[in-house]
C-alpha cells in the first residue's frame, strides 16, 4: 500500500506547486454563488485515486467552481432542483456528466471519479432471502447513479475507467439502496472488462428486519383454517399412532414444531371440530415442511 502514500505525497507536492503558481481557487465561469442550494463533493482521478491534476471544473448550468488541488473537494451553490453536474477535467480526460438527486437542500454527492476511459457497469440486485430481483434500487458507483429494472438489472454508463493503474478503481465501493432493504455494497476489484462493459455480478440485499426477533426455528409449520376454528386450536403430531408433540395454534391459527427426522401424522382439534390427519416425512434435520390444516 505504500504506493498510495507516494501518491498522496505527489498530490501534496502538486498542490504546493499550484498554490505557488497562484492557480488554486481561481474559479471557473459564472459567479459560483448565485444559487440557493449547496452541492458538495470530491472529484478524483480514477487512475490515481487522487485529486485531478490539473484541477477540474465542476459546472451546473452557468455556475462553476474549481476542485481543491489538495483533496479534490468542491462546493457549489446551485439553483434548487439542479439534477446534474458536469466535471471538466481541463485535460485529455475531457468532460464527465453526473446525474445527482434533484437538489432541494444541501447535498453531498460523494466521490465523482473521472479518468481516461468510460465504461458501462452492469449488475443484478436480488433479495437475499429469496433471490427475487429487487426493482427500483438505487445504484451509485464512482459517482454514477442508476436504478434497477424489474429483473433487478442495472446499467451505469460512462463510468470512469483507468488506463494502466487499477488500484484506485478496484478500491471504489459502490452502494445499493432500497427503502425496504439494508444498504448493500459492491466492488469491481476482480471483475473483467469485456467489450467496454464490466459486470458486478449478483448483489444481495438484506431485507429490513422485523421490529422483533424472529420466532424460534421449526421444521414443520403451517396454518390451521378456517380462522375461527384454527385460532387457538390444538395441533398434535403423532408417530406410529402415538402422540409425539402437541402445541396450541396462535390467534391467527399458525403453528410450528421442531421435530427430529421421521414420519409423522399431524392433525388439529378445536372443541368438537377436527382436521383430517395428514402424513408428513421429515427426511433430515434440514428438511423443512409447510403443512396447512383444515378443521371441519
Amino acid at each position: 500500500m505504500k504506493y498510495k502514500t507516494i501518491l498522496t505525497v505527489c498530490g501534496l507536492i502538486a498542490a504546493t506547486i499550484l498554490l505557488s503558481l497562484g492557480l488554486v481557487a481561481c474559479g471557473g465561469g459564472g459567479s459560483g454563488s448565485s444559487g440557493s442550494i449547496t452541492v458538495t463533493g470530491i472529484v478524483l482521478d480514477v487512475e490515481t485515486g487522487a485529486p485531478t491534476n490539473p484541477q477540474s471544473s465542476v459546472q451546473a448550468g452557468s455556475l462553476s467552481t474549481l476542485t481543491s488541488a489538495v483533496d479534490g473537494s468542491f462546493s457549489l451553490n446551485v439553483p434548487s432542483g439542479t439534477s446534474s453536474l458536469s466535471v471538466d477535467t481541463n485535460g485529455p480526460d475531457g468532460v464527465f456528466t453526473f446525474a445527482i438527486p434533484p437538489a432541494t437542500a444541501t447535498e453531498d454527492v460523494g466521490d465523482l471519479y473521472v479518468g481516461p476511459n468510460k465504461v458501462t457497469v452492469t449488475g443484478t440486485v436480488v433479495d437475499a432471502s429469496n433471490n427475487n430481483p429487487v426493482q427500483g434500487a438505487t445504484i451509485d458507483f464512482a459517482g454514477v447513479l442508476g436504478t434497477t429494472n424489474a429483473s433487478g438489472n442495472f446499467s451505469l454508463a460512462n463510468v470512469a475507467y483507468p488506463n494502466s493503474s487499477f488500484a484506485a478503481f478496484q478500491g471504489i465501493v459502490g452502494s445499493v439502496r432500497d427503502p425496504n432493504y439494508f444498504a448493500g455494497t459492491f466492488n469491481l476489484s476482480n471483475a473483467t472488462l469485456t467489450g467496454g462493459s464490466i459486470d458486478a455480478g449478483t448483489i444481495l440485499l438484506t431485507p429490513l428486519s422485523s421490529t422483533t426477533p424472529p420466532p424460534p426455528p421449526g421444521d414443520l409449520y403451517g396454518t390451521v383454517t378456517p380462522a375461527a376454528l384454527g385460532a387457538n386450536s390444538t395441533v398434535t403430531v403423532s408417530q406410529n399412532g402415538t402422540p409425539f408433540r402437541q402445541t396450541a395454534a396462535d390467534n391467527t391459527g399458525s403453528y410450528s414444531f421442531w421435530l427430529p427426522p421421521g414420519t409423522y401424522s399431524i392433525s388439529a382439534v378445536n372443541g368438537t371440530h377436527s382436521s383430517t390427519p395428514v402424513n408428513v416425512t421429515i427426511a433430515s434435520t434440514t428438511d423443512i415442511h409447510q403443512l396447512n390444516l383444515t378443521i371441519n
Binding site: L204, S209, P216, T286
Partner: protein, 935 residues
C-alpha cells in the same frame, strides 16, 4: 478420495467370484474333513496371498523386462494373471480384479476393477517405486525436466524411506505431464497422485514449474503421496499434512536432494508453499478445518486474477506445519504411522484410531515423555484446528497476519490477508465478494487506534482482501500488544501481535516475539519471558504493555530450527518469582518465532443448570476445541436439532449446515432429554476485550467471556468510527432492547418445552443466548470488556429523564413475564422506535405480557412525561383456573401510586410500587389497565 470409495465398492461386487476361484486352488485342504468357515477363509487367504505375490513378481519381472527391451508403451495391455485378494477380516474385503490386463498388481486395467483399502491385514509385498515417464505424447515432459525429476527421486529415495517408510506398494508409478490440464490450486499445492489413473496405473500428475527447485520440492511431495499408494489416509489433514511435513524434512536434510539444486531456493519454496514458519500460533484458526483442503467445486476453478489464492494453500501449509512439529520430536513418526495403516488399511479413515495409534508411537518412541509440545497426543491434536477433518459449514473468515520486514521508521508493519468464504453441506466453497469489512486495531488497553485511510476497510472480492497497517509508535519505542480484529459479516478473526519495540529493534526485525494476555500485575511487579533449549536458558525478555521481543540469533541452533524450546512467563514480585505459564513449542524450521503467552487461555465452562431438555437458546462463552456440534452435544448426527438465525437470508440454518459452535454466538438447541452436567472446554482469551460482529438485522449472540457483564461494559463499534457506549448505540446502531429466550411450559406429550417467549435482558451472562438487532447497514461490532481490563473508557450515556416501572406477571409454576411502562421527556404517546420496544411473538405455549399501543404490542412502552397515562396490558398464556400475581418494580424516577383495573371483573385497586396483586385466571388471555404518573 472418492475414487477409493468407488474402487472399494467395486471390489465388494466381485468378491464372491474371486473366492470361488480361489477355493479350487487347494482341494487337498478339503480332504481333511469338514472345515469351519474361518478355516476355509484362512486357507483361501493363504492361497490368494501366494497367488497374489507370484502375480506381483511376475508383473514386476514382465514390466522390467519390457522396459529393458524398450517395449513398454502406456496403454498397451499385456497378459498377466488375474490378481485376486481376499480377506477374512470383518469390515472389508479388498480385491483387485483386472480384466484388461493392467500391469499393477493392485489395481486393474481399463474396464476392470481396481483394488482399494480392505479391512484385513495387508498381505502384499512392498518394494521400491519405479518411475515411468512417457517419451512422447501429451503427457511427456521435456527431457531435461524428466531427468530432473528422476534425479530428485534417485537422490532422495533413501531419505524418503527413512522418514516415511518404504512404499506401501512397490512397482511402477507413471509420472504424467499435466501442465496444461491440472487445476490452478492443484498446481500450487505441488501436483497430485492417483492410485489408479483409470488405465490401471498409479500416476503422479505434475505440472512443469519454471524453477528446478520448485519442481524438485513439489516432486518430493508427490513421491511421498505415491509411497502411500492406495492405502492413504482418508483426510487431507493427515495425508497431505504428513506428506508435506516429511517433504520439508527431506528437503532440509543435508544430501537428500541433488547437489545441483540451490538449497536457498528450495528453502524459499518451502517457506512460500509448505511452512508457516514461526507464525503457527497466529494462524491456528477454526476456518482451516475441512474434510478436503481444496473444495470439490474449486479443484478445476481457476485462481482469481487478483492473485489471491484463497484458503486452500493456508490449509496445506498449516497441516504440514502442524505435523512438522511432531516430526521435530519424533523424526520417524510418519514412517511408523504409515506402517500401521499399511498393516490395517481401514485405520486410514478411522480418526480416533489414528489418534490412538499416534499415541502408541509416542509411547514407544519416548516412554519417558510421550507428548507433543507437552500434551498427550489427543490433547495436542484437539488444539490444531487444521487437523480436524470436519468441514466447517456456513460463512467463515480466516485472517492471516504476516510481518513485513521492517525498514527504518517502521514500528511494525503487518500484512493482514483475510479470506471470506462459505461452505455448503456438500463441502463446496463460495469465495465471497461485494462484502466490506472494517478492521479494528486495538492497543493493549483496548482503545481503538487507526493507522492510515487505506487500512480502514477491506473490500472482499473472490474471497480475498488485505491491508498492510504500519502500527504506530504509541509508547515512544516501547513494546505494546496490538490486537487486530477483522469483523466481517458476523465473523471476527483476531490476531494479537507485538508492536513497536517488541517487533523491531532499530529497524531490524527481532527473531523472537509475542504477546501476553490474562496477566494482572501489582504495582512494582515485573514480567519476563524466558527461553530455554534443552534445559538451558538462552534468552530472557521483559514484557512491557503485554508484549515482548528480542533477538536470540544462533544460540543453541535457534536460528536454524529443528528443535524444541521452552518459553516461560515469569512474574517477579519483590524477590519472589512465580511462573505463570510455561509452553513447550516445537520450532521445526528457521526464522523468527511468534508466541502467544496467554494465561488461563484454556477453560471449561460448566453451564449452571446444564442444558435443559426441549428447546433452548444456548450461548457459547469460549471457543470449543472441536467443530463437531453433534459431538459436543453427544447426540446422533441425524438427530441433532441445532439452528442459528441468519438475518441476511431471514431464515434459520439447521445442523449440519449451521456453523460450528463459536464463542460469541448462540444457537437454538432442541434436546430429547436434558444434559444435567453440560460443560464446554475451549480457548479463552482471559483478560482481553472480545468482539462479536453483527450483521444487519437480528443476530443470535452470546457473551464470549466467562463472567457476567453489565451493558456498561459493552461498547459498540461501527465501521471506522470510534467505539461508543452501549446505551449510546441503543436505538441508533443497535436495537433499543435485546432479548433472551425463556422456554415455555412443557409440551404435554414430550414433557419438555417445545416453545417459549423472548424476554428483554439488561445483562450479558455466559452460556445464555441473546437476540440483538443491528440497525446499521454496514454491521456493527460489540466489544465486551471484562472487568479486569484496565482503563476502559465508558462515557456516560445520557439517559432520558422521567419515570419507569416494571409490571411483572408470575404464574404459580414460576413462569413470569414483564412490561416496562414509563413517561420520559421526549417520548410520545404513540409508538416511537427511539423509546419503545415491540414485543417478540410467543411460540407455542408461553406466558407473555404486552402493552397495547395502537396496533403495536410493546414490551417497553414509554409515553409523554408529565401527565397521567393509561396502559392496557394484555397477558397471554395464563393457566386457566390457576392463580397468578401482578407485582411492580421501580426502574427510575418517583412513582407514588397508581391504579390497576382488572378488565375481566372491572375491579379497580390502588397500588404502590411494592404492591402485589393476586388473581385467578378465567381465560388464557386477560387484560389489565394501569393508570400511572411519575416524576
Amino acid at each position: 478420495m472418492k475414487y477409493r470409495t468407488f474402487l472399494f465398492a467395486a471390489m465388494l461386487g466381485i468378491a464372491a467370484v474371486s473366492r470361488a476361484t480361489v477355493l479350487t486352488l487347494n482341494t487337498a485342504l478339503f480332504n481333511k474333513g469338514p472345515l469351519t468357515r474361518a478355516e476355509v477363509v484362512a486357507a483361501a487367504d493363504a492361497e490368494v496371498t501366494t497367488f497374489e505375490n507370484n502375480a506381483y513378481k511376475l508383473s514386476q519381472n514382465a514390466i522390467e523386462l519390457r522396459q529393458k527391451l524398450g517395449l513398454w508403451k502406456k496403454g498397451i495391455p499385456f497378459s498377466l494373471p488375474v490378481v485376486v485378494r481376499l480377506s477374512s477380516k470383518t469390515g472389508g474385503t479388498g480385491a483387485g480384479f483386472g480384466t484388461g490386463g493392467g500391469f499393477n498388481h493392485y489395481s486393474a486395467g481399463p474396464g476392470g476393477f481396481g483394488g482399494g483399502p480392505g479391512g484385513g491385514p495387508r498381505q502384499l509385498t512392498s518394494g521400491p517405486l519405479t518411475l515411468q515417464f512417457d517419451s512422447s505424447g501429451s503427457e511427456a515432459f521435456p527431457v531435461a525436466y524428466q531427468q530432473l525429476l528422476q534425479s530428485v527421486f534417485n537422490q532422495a529415495e533413501p531419505t524418503l524411506n527413512l522418514l516415511f517408510g518404504n512404499p506401501a506398494v512397490g512397482g511402477v508409478v507413471h509420472v504424467a505431464n499435466f501442465d496444461s490440464t491440472i487445476g490452478d490450486r492443484q498446481a500450487v499445492a505441488g501436483g497430485y497422485y492417483l492410485p489408479n489413473n483409470g488405465a490401471g496405473m498409479p500416476e503422479i500428475r505434475f505440472p512443469v514449474y519454471n524453477a528446478n527447485e520448485t519442481a524438485a520440492v513439489n516432486f518430493i511431495h508427490c513421491l511421498l503421496l505415491a509411497y502411500l499408494g492406495p492405502d492413504g489416509y482418508s483426510s487431507d489433514s493427515f495425508e497431505e499434512g504428513l506428506v508435506r511435513a516429511v517433504t520439508m524434512k527431506v528437503v532440509r536434510t543435508a544430501g537428500a536432494m541433488p547437489s545441483n539444486l540451490d538449497p536457498t531456493a528450495m528453502e524459499n519454496v518451502l517457506e512460500a508453499d509448505y511452512d508457516v514458519l514461526g507464525f503457527y500460533d497466529w494462524d491456528n484458526q477454526r476456518a482451516l478445518s475441512a474434510a478436503s483442503f481444496i473444495a470439490p467445486n474449486l479443484i478445476s476453478t481457476p485462481l482469481p486474477a487478483s492473485g489471491g489464492t484463497g484458503l486452500f494453500l493456508d490449509r496445506y501449509i498449516m497441516a504440514g506445519s502442524a505435523w512438522a512439529k511432531v516430526l521435530t520430536e519424533y523424526p520417524t513418526f510418519a514412517a511408523n504411522l504409515n506402517q500401521q495403516i499399511y498393516a490395517n488399511p481401514s485405520l486410514g479413515s478411522n480418526i480416533p484410531g489414528l489418534v490412538s495409534a499416534a499415541q502408541t508411537i509416542l509411547n514407544t518412541s519416548r516412554p519417558s515423555a510421550p507428548t507433543v509440545e507437552g500434551y498427550p497426543f489427543v490433547n495436542w491434536y484437539d488444539r490444531q484446528f487444521v487437523l480436524q477433518p470436519t468441514s466447517v459449514f456456513g460463512t467463515r473468515l480466516f485472517s492471516q497476519v504476516l510481518p513485513i520486514s521492517p525498514t527504518t521508521g517502521d514500528f511494525a508493519v503487518f500484512d493482514i490477508a483475510a479470506t471470506l468464504f462459505s461452505t455448503d453441506s456438500s463441502g463446496n466453497e463460495k469465495l465471497l465478494s461485494s462484502v466490506t469489512g472494517y478492521p479494528i486495531f486495538w492497543d493493549d488497553q483496548y482503545q481503538r487506534f487507526t493507522t492510515s485511510a487505506q487500512d480502514a476497510q477491506m473490500a472482499f472480492n473472490n474471497g480475498d482482501a488485505n491491508v498492510e497497517p504500519n502500527l504506530p509508535d504509541l509508547y515512544a519505542g516501547q513494546e505494546y500488544r496490538a490486537t487486530l480484529d477483522v469483523p466481517v459479516l458476523d465473523q471476527v478473526a483476531r490476531v494479537m501481535v507485538p508492536a513497536d519495540g517488541a517487533y523491531t529493534s532499530s529497524g531490524t526485525g527481532n527473531d523472537f516475539y509475542g504477546t501476553t494476555a490474562g496477566v494482572t500485575l501489582n504495582t512494582g511487579d515485573t514480567l519476563n519471558v524466558t527461553v530455554s533449549v534443552g534445559g538451558t536458558q538462552i534468552a530472557s525478555f521483559p514484557v512491557v504493555n503485554d508484549a515482548f521481543g528480542g533477538t536470540i540469533g544462533s544460540l543453541n541452533g535457534y536460528d536454524t530450527g529443528g528443535l524444541q524450546i521452552t518459553v516461560s512467563l515469569v512474574q517477579q514480585s519483590g524477590t519472589t518469582n512465580t511462573t505463570l505459564l510455561t509452553r513447550t513449542i516445537d520450532k521445526p524450521g528457521p526464522g523468527a518465532l511468534a508466541v502467544n503467552m496467554f494465561v488461563n487461555s484454556e477453560q471449561t465452562y460448566s453451564y449452571p443448570n446444564g442444558l435443559p431438555g426441549g428447546i433452548s437458546m444456548v450461548g457459547i462463552p469460549d471457543d470449543p476445541y472441536t467443530s463437531d456440534v453433534a459431538a459436543i452435544l453427544g447426540t446422533p448426527a441425524n438427530d441433532t436439532l441445532v439452528a442459528r438465525y441468519d438475518p441476511s437470508t431471514v431464515n434459520y440454518d439447521f445442523y449440519p449446515d449451521v456453523e460450528p459452535f463459536e464463542a460469541g454466538h448462540s444457537y437454538f438447541v432442541n434436546l430429547n432429554t436434558s444434559i444435567p452436567n453440560f460443560a464446554l472446554s475451549g480457548r479463552e482469551q482471559s483478560g482481553t476485550s472480545r468482539c462479536v460482529a453483527l450483521k444487519p438485522g437480528w443476530n443470535m449472540v452470546s457473551l464470549p467471556l466467562l463472567q457476567s457483564l453489565q451493558t456498561t461494559s459493552v461498547r459498540v463499534v461501527h465501521a471506522t468510527d470510534f467505539p461508543v457506549d452501549f446505551a449510546t448505540a441503543e436505538g441508533t446502531l443497535i436495537g433499543k432492547d435485546f432479548f433472551f429466550f425463556a422456554p415455555g411450559a412443557n409440551d404435554p406429550i414430550a414433557g419438555t418445552p417445545q416453545g417459549g417467549t423472548f424476554k428483554p435482558s439488561t445483562t450479558f451472562d455466559p452460556g445464555v443466548g441473546y437476540f440483538i438487532e443491528d440497525l446499521a447497514p454496514e454491521g456493527v461490532t460489540l466489544v465486551f470488556d471484562p472487568g479486569n481490563t484496565a482503563n476502559i473508557a465508558h462515557p456516560l450515556a445520557s439517559q432520558p429523564s422521567g419515570w419507569e416501572m416494571k409490571a411483572i406477571f408470575t404464574t404459580a409454576d414460576g413462569h413470569s413475564t414483564e412490561d416496562i411502562l414509563g413517561g420520559l421527556i421526549g417520548a410520545t404517546d404513540v409508538y416511537n422506535s427511539s423509546f419503545d420496544t415491540p414485543l417478540p411473538p410467543v411460540l407455542g405455549v408461553g406466558l407473555q405480557a404486552a402493552s397495547l399501543n395502537g396496533p403495536t404490542r410493546l414490551f417497553r412502552d414509554e409515553r409523554s412525561y408529565g401527565k397521567w397515562q393509561n396502559f392496557t396490558i394484555q397477558v397471554q398464556g395464563l393457566p386457566v383456573g390457576k392463580q397468578f400475581t401482578l407485582s411492580f418494580a421501580r426502574d427510575q424516577g418517583i412513582i407514588r401510586y397508581f391504579t390497576v383495573t382488572n378488565n375481566q371483573t372491572g375491579q379497580i385497586q390502588t397500588c404502590f410500587i411494592n404492591s402485589q396483586l393476586t388473581f385467578t385466571a378465567t381465560a388464557a388471555t386477560e387484560t389489565f389497565t394501569i393508570r400511572a404518573i411519575g416524576f
